[in-house]
Symmetry: C2
Subunit: 132 residues, 2 copies
DNA sequence: TAATATGGGACCAGCAAGGTCCTATATGCT
DNA sequence: AGCATATAGGACCTTGCTGGTCCCATATTA
């Protein structure tokens, strides 16, 4: 299925929320979750993923939370997807992790589909948080 | 996850195989499956879906099977995906079947993402079997 | 030192994807 | 007529991922 996971959807809402917050201010995962009716525990997990990829900066302790780490025009849709869902592989053949697909010797669609994948990736990389 | 299902992948191999077969000839699902090392029972199911959408024509009985129903340049990647996976919805919000998402009132990403969906759909509709 | 924040692992239920099996029906061949 | 072989289609099973929760460690502030 070609669909963004709910996790990614939530992540986009959150990071977009941070993009609209006062500069420098930290917002807690709980606050963001409440604002968008997202399960708080899940939101916390997603923020961690975004933080690990350097899309948002985090701060421990009371008054802590998250704030955006780059300019919204420097964060692409692709960045968020990759941070939450991992690298995109349009077909399993192109997945470097799980290799050896049984159809490989006679696979006639692999190469053209990888071209399609590049075109879709270009769309996602061309869409920044600013565009939302 | 943004990935074509294996079913769709198989379907593409099959219909591309039919596109290269002698005009008018029927190939059985079992033949196609053997050629590409695809489970025969599964291949049969996928061919049924392609047939129901009118992408391939079917013939019962001995010497029966499937053949392509249109010119390869008239069959898009999108056609095959839709035939096998059903209509594409980039995010759940845009799915007409399962409506009422709890984030709806405060959802800030729905509209821009539907634009992204359109752009991706355009890529898939712009890629025909001929291009493979 | 209590309260509150993130970091991160373990865990769970539900569902869809991948795949099999069985039966009914249509067609060609002997 | 009757058998072999093809599609049509429903029921079913298993496995892995998705969405989501819980718990504990660590960091920071009041």
């Amino acid at each position: 299925m070609i669909r963004l996971s709910k996790r990614t959807d939530y992540g986009l809402m959150a990071i977009r929320h941070l993009a609209g917050a006062p500069v420098g201010a930290f917002l807690s995962a709980r606050e963001i979750a409440a604002e968008h009716r997202i399960p708080p525990a899940l939101m916390a997990k997603l923020m961690q993923k975004l933080a690990r990829k350097g899309l948002v900066a985090s701060q421990h302790g009371t008054k802590g939370g998250y704030r955006i780490a780059r300019d919204p025009s420097e964060i692409t849709l692709w960045d968020v997807i990759e941070a939450i869902e991992g690298p995109l592989c349009f077909i399993e053949c192109l997945d470097p992790i799980k290799g050896n697909c049984p159809q490989y010797p006679t696979c006639t669609v692999q190469k053209p589909l990888s071209a399609v994948q590049r075109r879709i990736a270009a769309v996602l990389e061309g869409t920044t948080l600013f565009d939302l």
